[in-house]
Amino acid sequence: MIPSILNPRSSFNTAWLDKLQGALQGEHFVKVTTGLSRHLLIPLIAIAVFLGVWAAAASKIDTSLGTFPGPAKVWEQTVQLNKEHRAEREKESAFYERQHARNAERMKTDPGYEPKIRSYTGKPTFFDQIVTSLVTVATGFLIASLIAIPVGIVCGMSATLYQALNPLIQIFKPVSPLAWLPLVTMVVSAVYVSDDPFFAKSFLTSAITVTLCCLWPTIINTTVGVSSVDKDLLNVSRVLRLGWFTKTMKIILPSATPMMFTGLRLSLGIGWMVLIAAEMLAQNPGLGKFVWDEFQNGSSDSLARIMVAVLAIGFIGFLLDRGMLMLQRRVTWDRNAVLR
C-alpha cells in the first residue's frame, strides 16, 4: 500500500478503506487515529452532506411519478428489492420441489417414465440482473483484452503496422458502441443460428457491444507502453544480444505492463458504462433492462428503484476498477501504481 497519508490527493480515494482495515486490526493506534480523522471522517462528513443535500433537493422535485426519491425512500426500496429477491428464490425452490415430488410420485406408478425437470421461468430479480450484467461485461472485456493486448504489442513493436492500423483505430475509437448496437444485433441474429444456443442472442449482442468499446483504450495504451520502452534498456538488450523472444519477454512486456493496465482499467470502466446503456436500448437482460423496465412500469416506487440501480451501478463500477488495480499491483513491478 502506498503511504497514503503523504499523498494529499488521496483524500478522495479509497485510502480510507485501508485505514479502516488498519484501525480494525488495532495497529499503530496513534497514527491510525490521525489517519482515521483524515481518511474516514472527512469522506463520511462529505457523504453525510451529500445525503442532506439530496434529501432536501429531492423533496422539492415533483414528477408525474411522485416526489423524487430521497435517501430514505431509496433505502426502503433497497430492502424491498432484497425481500423480492428472497421471495423469488423461495418460489423457485418451491417450484423445483413440487416437480421433484410429482416426478417421484409418477415414477412409483409408472416405472418407465422418464422424469422431466422444467426450468423455472420467473422474472429475474434485481440481483439476478446484476449477475447477468457482470457476466456480460466480463465476457466482453475478456474478448476485447484477448484481441487488444496482442494487437497493441504488435503495433508498438512495428512502426509500419502501427502506421497501417492507426487510422482505423483513430476512426473507430470515438464511435459510441451504441451506434454499433443495431448492426451487432442484426449480425448476431443472422450469423449465430443454432437450435440449441449455448449463449442467448441478447447476451452475445451485449457482450460484443462491450467488446467493441473495450478494444481501443487497451490497444492504444499497450501500443504506447510497448513503443516507449526506455531507449537505454533497449541498448542493454542490444549489448547483451538478447534474442527477439527474450527481449520481448524480459524487457518490452514488463516495461509496458503499467500502461497496459491503464488501458485495461479504462476499458473496463467504459465497458461497464456502455453495457448499461446497451441493455437499456436493446432490452437485453441486465441492470440496464431493470432500469428501463422500472421506467416503463411507472409506479410510485419506480424512481426510487431506479435510484437503487444507479447507486448499485456506481458501486459495482468502483469495485471493478479497484479489482483491476489490485490485479495490477499483483502482476506488475510498478508498486507505486496510484489509487485513483
Binding site: R238, V239, L240, R241, L266, T332
Partner: protein
C-alpha cells in the same frame, strides 16, 4: 598492428532537419590491453557518440573500430557498457539483473551453478551482495551504479565502456565509487574507456586522458599520459605536484584552448541529433 583496440579515423554525420551535421571528424586512437582511457570534453562534443560507436550501438559514417584486429560493427557483450543512468531493469532484483547478463553470455559454456556463483561473485566485487534480492527502486543511486558495473563486469568484456558512470551521483558517493573502481581495476586490469566531465576523476583513474575538441566535427585535441604510480590515493595525490600539473593541463585545454561558447545556438547537441534520427512515433493516450 599490435594494438588491442583501435579507433581508425572515425567520422560520423547525422542527418538532421537542418541538413547533415558532422559530429565527429577523423578520430583515431590506439588503446593497449589493460589501459584505462578517459574521454573528456565539453557537453555535446560527441564523447558519448564515440563510446556508442565502439559499443556498436551507432555506426560510423566512415572509419571503423578494430578489437584484436577484427572490425566491430554491432553491439555485443565483449564491449559491455555501463550507462550513465544505470539502466537496470526495474522489474528484476539486483541478482536477476546481473544473472540475466550472465545467463545470456555464458548459457552454453557454464553450468547453472557456475552461473549463479559467477553472479554472486560479481556482486561481491562491487560490495552489493547484501542487496541481492532488492529491486533497483529500493536501493540508492550509487548502489544502482555498482550493480550496473557488476552487470558489465560479469560479461567478462574485452573492453569496458563507461558513459559518465558517476555523473548522476553526488560528489561524496562519486569519490567512493571512484575508489571502488580503482580497487576493481587493480584486480582485474580491464581495458576501460570512460567518459567523464570531471577533471579530478579523469586524472585520478586514467592511464591516458583523451581531450576532445568542441563539436561540430569534434576530434581528438590532445592526449595526456598520466604517469602516476598505482595504487593511487586521492589524499596523497592532493599535494602531489605532478598530479596538480596534470589537472592544470586538462583545465587549460578545456577552458582556454577549447572554451565552450556561451550559447551554442548553431550547435545542436548529439542527443538532439540522435532524437531526430529516430522515426517519430506519436500516439495519443486514450
Amino acid at each position: 598492428m599490435t594494438n588491442y583496440l583501435s579507433l581508425e579515423s572515425l567520422s560520423i554525420t547525422f542527418d538532421t532537419d537542418n541538413g547533415p551535421l558532422n559530429v565527429l571528424n577523423d578520430i583515431s586512437l590506439k588503446i593497449d590491453k589493460g589501459e584505462f582511457i578517459s574521454l573528456i570534453g565539453h557537453s555535446g562534443c560527441g564523447k558519448s557518440t564515440v563510446l556508442n560507436i565502439v559499443a556498436g550501438l551507432l555506426q560510423a559514417s566512415s572509419g571503423g573500430v578494430l578489437l584484436e584486429n577484427r572490425e566491430v560493427d554491432e553491439p555485443g557483450p565483449d564491449r559491455a557498457v555501463v550507462f550513465q543512468n544505470h539502466s537496470l531493469l526495474p522489474w528484476l532484483t539486483v541478482y536477476e539483473n546481473v544473472r540475466l547478463a550472465v545467463d545470456q553470455v555464458f548459457k552454453k559454456t557454464r553450468s547453472k551453478q557456475q552461473r549463479h556463483d559467477w553472479t554472486v561473485h560479481n556482486l561481491e566485487l562491487v560490495h552489493m551482495a547484501h542487496a541481492m534480492n532488492q529491486r533497483p527502486s529500493e536501493i540508492s543511486g550509487g548502489m544502482k551504479q555498482r550493480v550496473g558495473i557488476a552487470r558489465a563486469l560479469a560479461m567478462e568484456p574485452k573492453v569496458l565502456l563507461m558513459d559518465e558512470p558517476f555523473g548522476a551521483l553526488d560528489s561524496l558517493t562519486r569519490t567512493h565509487m571512484q575508489d571502488s573502481l580503482m580497487e576493481i581495476q587493480a584486480n582485474l586490469n580491464n581495458t576501460v574507456i570512460m567518459i567523464t566531465h570531471d577533471v579530478d576523476e579523469a586524472v585520478l583513474l586514467s592511464d591516458r586522458i583523451v581531450m576532445m575538441s568542441n563539436g561540430p566535427a569534434a576530434t581528438v585535441g590532445e592526449i595526456l599520459k598520466v604517469d602516476l604510480e598505482r595504487p593511487r590515493h586521492r589524499l596523497a595525490l592532493a599535494a602531489n605536484p605532478t598530479y596538480n600539473h596534470y589537472r592544470a593541463e586538462v583545465l587549460h585545454f578545456l577552458h582556454e584552448r577549447h572554451a565552450q561558447p556561451d550559447v551554442p545556438v548553431t550547435q545542436p547537441t548529439v542527443e538532439i541529433a540522435e532524437e531526430a534520427r529516430k522515426p517519430a512515433l506519436k500516439v495519443a493516450a486514450g
